[in-house]
């Protein structure tokens, strides 16, 4: 079943091959050019090993996130895009709230898209840097599981050799 649709397309269509990605969360489907989708190493492996049907199911990724991922892949599949344009486009994609960013980083990880993983983790890192730990907890709703003594001990432990250097 796996190879049948591909052979069909090879034979019939000189136009670009397309793949259909389907979010298993809300059953949204996205039709994308193959070379766009192949930026995902996970999808590439599926296609290479001939286990991709005409619809590739993507579990755990919602349609909204998948749309962002595909936008990223399209931008980066465009050979004429300049580096500056790509940077701007990436910045636009990751200009989201933390919930979306976390879903995006999970999606990038699942689909194994290195560049997207990079920009998304960088964005998350930028949003938690410069924050005191109380603020990180508060803003991101992380539960405090320290006693004050334990927290002091952790601080002391992190008194690294290079602290205090420029």
């Amino acid at each position: 079943m796996a190879s049948a649709p591909e052979n069909e397309k090879n034979a019939s269509a000189p136009e670009k091959k397309t793949l259909t990605l389907k979010s298993m969360i809300n059953n949204e489907e996205f039709v994308v050019d193959e070379h766009v989708a192949l930026q995902s190493v996970t999808i590439k492996n599926m296609v290479d090993s001939d286990c991709a049907g005409d619809v590739i199911p993507v579990p755990t990724i919602s349609g909204e996130i998948l749309a962002l991922v595909i936008e990223y892949c399209k931008n980066h599949a465009n050979p004429s895009a300049s580096e500056d344009d790509l940077k701007k486009a990436d910045a636009g994609i990751v200009a989201k709230d933390i919930y979306t960013l976390i879903d995006l980083v999970l999606a990038a990880n699942f689909l194994d898209i290195k560049g997207l993983l990079e920009v998304t983790s960088q964005k998350i890192a930028d949003s938690i840097k410069d924050l005191p730990h109380q603020d990180v907890r508060e803003i991101f709703g992380v539960e405090n599981d320290y006693t004050p003594e334990e927290e002091a001990a952790v601080r002391a432990e992190h008194d690294w050799a290079f602290e205090g250097f420029p």
């Binding site: 909204e64 709230d97 938690i128 840097k129 410069d130 539960e143 290079f162």
Partner: protein, 439 residues
Amino acid sequence: MLGTLPSSGSPTISERVSSKNGKSLPTRSQFTETEWKRDKVRRVVDGEESKGTSEENKRESEAEERRLGPGLGIHGEGREKESHLSNVALEISLNTFQLAGGPYCHMELFSSTNFLEFASLFRSLMTDNRRSITFNSADNPFGKVPDHLLVEIFVRVPISDWVQLSCVKKQWANLFREECLWHAALLRSFPLAGHAKRWPGPIPRGLSKRRYTALYISKHIFSLDELDEIVGHTYLFLKEHLEISTMPPPVGILHGTIIDQFISCGKSRDKAHELASQIWLAVIDNLEENEQTFLLLKRLALEGDVFIPYPYSRSQKVQWRVFEKLFTDFHDWFNREDYYDVLACAKHKFLPIPSPWLDSWLNQALENYASKAWIASDHCVSTKFQCSNPTKLTIEQLLGNGACLSLTRAKVESRTSSDVAILPSLLYSDNPVAVPTLA
């Protein structure tokens, strides 16, 4: 008044004098550029703080307390104040930046009215057969991020914020204890080092955290043209042996080990000697100002020279720095006998001795009436005695390193006429040259 003195020294010092309204000066031998900058920052801060409202100050100091935490203790108590103040300056600039929409601008996202809708939408979107997403984990977006992705995120946060991240949650602190994170950080910050081979020689390479630290030191302390991991490892080796061991091995052995290490890494003898002395200087400069350091420096100063061939011989520069640090930063720690022992040793090794080194010695001598005349006659004291209280003399150097011991000359100046009576009698007896500048 100060400006008219013919022997007034470097502008930094005289400016410092005027800025402090003639209070007693710290007796540093010379102001390095960083010290000078720090001093400048402090004066800026003093000005800023007096302008700002008390509320602002309070908020700043609170923010600073949270941010600074412990661990700036690399300078001793004396310097901590200075670094503390310069941090206030940084804090002020940071705060201004943040108010102007700097790093906090992402907060907008959370203040948006759509936020609750967002959250509920995502909860419904992320409903997954394998995981039931509870309200709690929707509130805590990091809850569903696996460790290896947390590592990816954390290594992109500046290293100075890592202590804050560790304090958020136990799970996060554990990540910073693991090889995995440090390996990722190593590859990210120093991609070339990932392929570096192990080296022969006595100093081991260690795990990723150690290597990261070493590379960080190589990069930040010894701004070398070519990033050299072994330099950082050697620094750590020496610092640990000097600082942590209760009974450090003799200096010659530590120095020899470092030289051996560099030579076995293929450095030339000259390069090995040069790097070793750079490392000694850096370690000595970064020791904390405490009693252990004082005892260590004293031991380094008094340790006799055994003839060892180059490049195993210790560098002059390093020995100079040991004495310099003892006589400037640590002069309050000396008792009389120790002071004379070390001074004798310094005289034996270096002539002339720079006048700042004589500071505490001068102070002691001045307190001890009997030896006052002797100071003036035996040594050049190109020093201004400033006297507001006749019983308490304070001394300010007007010359930097230039003063030498051969010339007998002192300039005496007094603020009030009542002081004049005392000072000439101190110096006049053996040293007629000293008096004429008195009004």
